[in-house]
Symmetry: C2
Subunit: 476 residues, 2 copies
């Protein structure tokens, strides 16, 4: 990893070569390199913060001149209490996750002495483009190395000095480990991105981490598969039977706990029968939190008739565009629907297939909703804000994918892996089998002990009895 | 499914709408539609063969004029003995495969009454572009419906009448079932393809089934993910310890059993020490089968010194280009290598990441090869021709993928599915958890009974003892 004058092609080729070496290292070797990076960054804290200080100085000047937002300046600051330590801890957290590669996930006996296996492996070379936050470089480097992938990292220009300092420290740390330094390539000039996006021979997957504009640009500019989401237009459908206290709790969390998050609620669909029963309490709670409510005609009329005049005066009329828009702010669009089908059709047409929820005690309606909604996460009686790799138990996340292939929803380490098929045989050949020849056996074999699956009804019954306390291993 | 004057946008929108309905049908409903299609095509055999006769007549004229190859005419012919019946049986075979959707593949207890599940589901709308063979329409229709996906099918112009006849019969058959006819859209004019490839809002996955040129065109023309392979440059590395009889058997199968197949051998790497021991027998066998051998300098010299003059006279000099070329013919490039590392580097650089093999009794060398080769299938002591969905036990295959994400190698029904995450809760919200709040439980839950996994060492020990015949369910 270094800041060189290398061309995009050289960067990509070096990453590809590095990826071949990284892919065959042991878990212990990959983990040891993460320990080394952690130690080096802990020791280099002052150096990094000094570099970060330069970025902050320039950013503050730009902000004063109106060229940069204050929130971006804030995200740049690595000196904020606990932020550097969180970054360091994140590296160890990734190190301590289960190894995602070299796992056998299927085994089939094709014939005697002819065994087919499916084994997880790295994807190869990742291109990760992210916006300002400089601590992401450490997180992404850890994820890439842990999953055996080389990564080309392109950071934002606002964090130039911080990136350079962190990159130099990581590069030095790697040089003492089995992981080749070439596995992490840092590029900082923006004009290099369009060239990198053309190198689909060397780069296997592109992960843009940033706003809608960045993701759309990347998707429109490359033949490399792109993992991510452009929009997070999340919807919740409130049914008439659901109690107001729970509805308020869920909807307030979904809309207000972090409105800038891609999993924040943007649209509320309300069953007609709930307009004057549950909706007023929900609307009142949201207004108190400072949320602007953009209501369709029916919900507007219902709320005007039920809220006190002060609250009612705050209500706004929704336009059609409000139902295809990601506010990322304290704004919620509200629409009345007359049936479960109408809610499902609206969501499948207008949501961004990220995360959508239904609030009801009717399990038949909920199951219909869960089956019919074509989104990466679909919830029953909880907040759309649950869509997060850490909350799902992945330890960490690479991002959230609204893709329809490979990895969908919060993407953890598993999303950075693929598999290869291996066959070990003894000179069996294709022409021996089929019409007139030998028959394939196609017997499913058990995986490793760690993933031992009950193979038949008897074994399932055995496990059930064991779990019910009716059998102990020592009894046998 | 119909041949209409619909615009590409209308076709794609209709498929999308159909896909929503298809996705929530039961396995029984999807299977019943395959039974109906099978019956209708069995009854309509004469009608289809009459239409096929028209295509054949036109094709024969074109072939006589030199505008079409005889092999293409042969592939068009549905009247060939057993071909129609194979097509019919294929529909029933797909029907009888395990349902690939609505399977729970992971479950996590996030907290009490808060359960995360990962459930397989259809991808949505497939665009499948294929060349002449008209029976593919029935196969692909069956695969799409079975996996709950709508499909837009674009066939070759040479099979226009056959397609129209089959499409009309399938369409009528579907109208009597729960599967909406819109789920299968047939388009036949070539100029429609470029417009369809732009509709990434409505089409989720594109599968080109055809030659290199078609696949490259599709990959270069669309933002829709593409599943498939452009090239099949498969390589086998012959080590010096491997006996000549087994080497001959494997290499002759890989090169000559179906040279036009993407899994056919195109390059042989030979350990230097095997040049005068094993290689001559292999070369002699290949020459007898009519294979042209394009040899590098060292292998050429070795073979000229060992083969009889008649055989030696047939040998050709290889050029550099021969090691980056898919012959799809009775031609094999032979290269001498001096180490396992050199073989691995050559294959990772020059193969098309499809299927590559090592022939050796040295398990350490084989394991290094299996781990280091970055291809969708990597074999030890068997023929590259094993790379095939039917041989892998998938029942049928959609194609073979050299992609690095989603699905790699032979792609069965599983490659036409993705998953969604669901959470069922009781009004838990995100802000209750984390710093100062409740802790996540993140307990892995058992899947359905059918996929019951041993959860801990005791349960694994129980299964081991049971399998060793030391316990029976009735004993407990």
């Amino acid at each position: 990893m270094s800041l060189t004058n290398a061309t995009p092609l050289q960067v990509a080729q070096a990453a590809r070569t590095g990826s071949r070496k990284l892919a065959v290292l042991s878990a212990a070797e990959r983990n040891a390199s993460l320990t080394a990076i952690h130690e080096a960054l802990a020791e280099g804290k002052e150096e990094v913060l000094a570099a970060n200080g330069k970025d902050l100085e320039e950013a503050n000047k730009a902000a004063a001149g109106g060229h940069l937002s204050q929130s971006l300046v804030k995200r740049l600051d690595l000196g904020k209490k606990g932020k550097y330590e969180d970054m360091l801890q994140g590296i160890l957290d990734v190190r301590d996750l289960e190894d995602p590669i070299n796992k056998t996930t299927a085994r089939t006996l094709l014939d005697d002495n002819l065994v087919l296996s499916r084994i997880t492996c790295p994807i190869g070379v990742l291109l990760i483009i992210f916006e300002a936050r400089p601590e992401v470089i450490a997180n992404i480097s850890a994820l890439a190395i842990k999953s055996g992938n080389a990564a080309i990292l392109k950071g934002g220009k606002e964090s130039y000095h911080s990136f350079a300092a962190i990159a130099s420290i990581i590069s030095q740390a790697l040089s003492q480990t089995a992981v080749p330094s070439d596995c992490l390539q840092l590029v900082q000039t923006h004009d290099v991105v369009s060239d990198l996006l053309k190198l689909d021979t060397y780069i296997d997957l592109c992960i843009p981490r940033g706003g809608n504009k960045l993701v759309r640009y990347v998707k429109d500019s490359t033949a490399i598969p792109v993992l991510g989401h452009a929009d997070g237009i999340c919807t919740t459908y409130l049914c008439a039977d659901y109690p107001a206290d729970k509805a308020v709790k869920i909807i307030v969390d979904a809309k207000t706990s972090y409105p800038a998050g891609c999993n924040a609620l943007e649209q509320l669909l309300v069953d007609e029968a709930a307009l004057t029963t549950t909706l007023p309490a929900v609307a009142e709670a949201l207004l108190q939190k400072g949320v602007s409510l953009r209501c369709d005609a029916a919900s507007l009329a219902a709320l005007k008739g039920t809220l006190d005049p002060h609250s009612a005066a705050l209500l706004q009329e929704a336009t059609d565009q409000d139902f295809d828009f990601e506010f990322l702010d304290f704004v919620l669009a509200i629409k009345t629907v007359h049936s479960l089908d109408e809610a499902i059709t609206h969501i499948n047409t207008h949501s961004s297939h990220h995360t959508d929820a239904i609030l009801t005690f009717d399990s038949a309606a909920a199951n219909t909703f869960l089956a019919a909604i074509d989104s990466s996460s679909v919830y029953w009686n909880t907040s759309t804000r649950m869509a997060d790799g850490q909350r799902y138990g992945f330890g960490t996340e690479v991002g959230i994918s609204t893709n329809k292939i490979h990895s969908r929803g919060p993407v953890g380490l598993e999303g950075l892996t693929i598999y290869k098929w291996t066959i070990a045989g003894d000179a069996q050949v294709s022409t021996e089998y089929g019409a007139g020849g030998k028959a394939w056996k196609h017997v499913k074999l058990p995986l490793s002990d760690d993933e031992m699956v009950a193979q038949n009804d008897e074994e399932r019954e055995l496990l059930r009895k064991f779990r019910a306390g009716k059998a102990a291993v020592s009894d046998i």
